[in-house]
């Protein structure tokens, strides 16, 4: 592409991005060091036991969320893309409806599922069991993030499944491959770029979001909640800034690793 065209296409986005993201972030970076511990604030996430524990909790929740979301969405997404049956369109519409739900609403949905009046509890007591209330725990938060991520992941998987070449699967079948072998050796490699990019977004969202935790509140010590508390309750904007950068760095690293993995596959394939 000619250099002039390249710059012309790049310019609007570049200007917007520099003014409203790079510049503010640079300022925030220096503010992070303006607290009483100076630049050491940037190490607090590993040196301070409380922050460190919150970091591990956050990462664990995000990892579990990502694995569950990808597994669930791949099965449902490929199925919905491949088969036509009465009511399919309504089913897809229903499953992508929660795409529009903010984290706060998702938190409310978790309360509807697993809260004190939740349907899961109702079902359990109907069969004579204990009423499980896990909406306000890490399990509830995880459930919320899975709920949040399934619709958009299914859309990505469906779009990718549409582009898969059905002839490859037929070829595999005609050579005697079992359904499981077709999934493992043909469909999954074909979906790999979509899985990696959807998974990376899912992970980053679970790490940085706080709407759901904000609604479920009380005992959930994930980093975004810690940052919010530092900023509002303690008015410690320096520590909030430093922690945000640490958290952002972790999430960015996950995304970068995921992208270089998917990038190399794309290159190898084509």
């Amino acid at each position: 592409m000619p250099r002039r065209q390249f710059l012309l296409l790049l310019l609007p986005a570049a200007l917007f991005f520099s003014a409203f993201f790079l510049l503010p972030m640079a300022r925030l970076f220096f503010i992070g060091a303006s607290g009483e511990s100076g630049w050491l604030a940037y190490l607090a996430i590993v040196t301070d036991a409380n922050y460190f524990r919150a970091l591990w909790t956050t990462l664990a929740v995000a990892a579990v969320t990502t694995v569950l979301t990808l597994a669930i969405s791949s099965i449902a997404g490929v199925f919905l893309e491949r088969h036509r049956f009465p009511g399919r369109a309504a089913l897809v519409a229903a499953m992508t409806l929660p795409l529009a739900f903010p984290g706060v609403v998702v938190g409310f949905m978790v309360i509807m599922l697993a809260g004190r009046q939740g349907i899961i509890g109702e079902v359990f007591t109907m069969f004579g069991g204990e009423r499980p209330i896990f909406a306000y725990s890490l399990a509830g938060l995880c459930m919320g993030y899975v709920y949040f991520s399934i619709p958009r992941t299914i859309l990505t998987i469906m779009a990718a499944a549409e582009k898969l070449d059905p002839r490859l699967e037929e070829a595999a079948r005609s050579f005697g491959a079992t359904p499981w072998q077709v999934v493992r050796d043909v469909i999954l490699p074909g979906l790999r770029p979509a899985l990696i990019s959807a998974g990376a977004i899912c992970f980053a969202t679970a790490v940085g979001a706080f709407g759901t935790a904000f609604t479920l509140a009380t005992r959930i010590e994930v980093l975004p909640m810690v940052i919010y508390t530092e900023f509002t309750m303690s008015a410690n904007i320096a520590m909030a800034a430093a922690l945000s950068f640490s958290l952002g760095a972790v999430a960015w690293l996950a995304l970068a690793v995921a992208r270089s993995a998917s990038g190399s596959t794309v290159a190898a394939a084509g």
Binding site: Q5, F6, L9, P12, A13, F17, F20, F21, P24, M25, R27, L28, I75, A76, F79, H83, M95, L97, P98, L99, A100, F101, P102, G103, V104, V105, F108, M109, V110, M112, L113, I119, I150, L155, T156, A159, E162, K163, P166, E170, P179, P193, S197, I201, A204, T205, V207, G208, F214, T215, I227, F231, I237, A240, S244, F245, L247, G248, W252, L255
Partner: protein
């Protein structure tokens, strides 16, 4: 194909179960918003009282969120589609770096982006108190979704060959962009638009810090309601949100119904709707 039918049934049941997981709490919350007293149950009767109460108190948040989402869509289309094309065409180191950079507002917690905007522009009172302040945050956050969604579609087609073919027939850049690039990434643009509008409508992480008492968006109002008002009002507010978002989503989904590749095992006569 006994085995095939069994697998089909299994996947179908699984998909239905996932759908139930997503839809059941929505139905419950709708009912809660229309029930006189949710803790008593539906026996207490149905009412629109809570919905009207929310409409009176919070309808401004609805209009603000709608306006923001549309403005956000226009901006991400203008900024994002050319950028996605650029990234699809030049897979060099610079393109990778740009893609990396662009993802940062998603990777960095929304709280941090909001803090950054506040420390950088909080002093400009006219800007700080306007809805544009929130819009800027929303565009930063949604832009990568538009770009990636378009890019995902563009990178599986052989764009250079298609464009070269068109160029050899005398098509200029603008014509190639309009007649080859845009139709090919139609699904990507629609999926991206769906994401941008819905993400903007629902954005809370940044908006919670960026909003002022005069620029409350819908999710901010919802968080208020969940925290301080009774369950029925929170549910009624959520119901209004559902009413707003559902037609929008259905319309976008209808638009996004793509031309299909015909699979060999499928009945071709079922495909003539495209």
């Amino acid at each position: 194909m006994q085995h095939g039918r069994f697998l089909y049934g299994l996947q179908f049941a699984f998909t239905i179960a996932v759908c139930a997981f997503l839809v059941v709490p929505v139905v419950m919350s709708i009912l809660a918003g229309l029930t006189v007293n949710y803790f008593v149950g539906l026996e207490s009767g149905l009412t629109l009282r809570w919905v009207l109460e929310v409409w009176d108190g919070y309808r401004d948040t609805l209009f603000l969120s709608l306006g923001l989402a549309l403005a956000c869509l226009v901006l991400t289309l203008l900024l994002g589609v050319p950028l996605a094309y650029l990234l699809a065409r030049s897979r060099g180191r610079l393109a990778r770096a740009i893609e990396e950079l662009l993802m940062l507002p998603v990777a960095v917690p929304g709280l941090a982006t909001a803090l950054g905007l506040i420390v950088a522009y909080g002093g400009l009172a006219g800007f700080r108190t306007s809805a544009a302040f929130i819009l800027v945050g929303h565009v930063l956050f949604t832009l990568p979704f538009m770009v990636r969604s378009v890019l995902a579609v563009l990178s599986v087609i052989d764009l250079p060959t298609l464009e070269e073919g068109a160029a050899s027939l005398g098509a200029g850049f603008a014509q190639r962009f309009r007649d080859i690039v845009l139709p090919n990434c139609r699904n990507g643009i629609l999926a991206g638009a769906l994401m941008v509008v819905t993400l903007s409508m629902g954005e809370f992480n940044m908006t919670w810090l960026l909003h002022t008492p005069f620029t409350k968006t819908l999710p901010v109002g919802l968080a208020d309601a969940y925290a301080s008002l009774r369950l029925e009002i929170g549910s009624a507010y959520t119901l209004i949100f559902f009413l707003l978002i559902t037609p929008l989503l259905l319309a976008l989904q209808a638009l996004a119904r793509p031309r299909r590749t015909v699979f060999a095992e499928r009945d071709p006569s079922a495909e003539n709707d495209s």
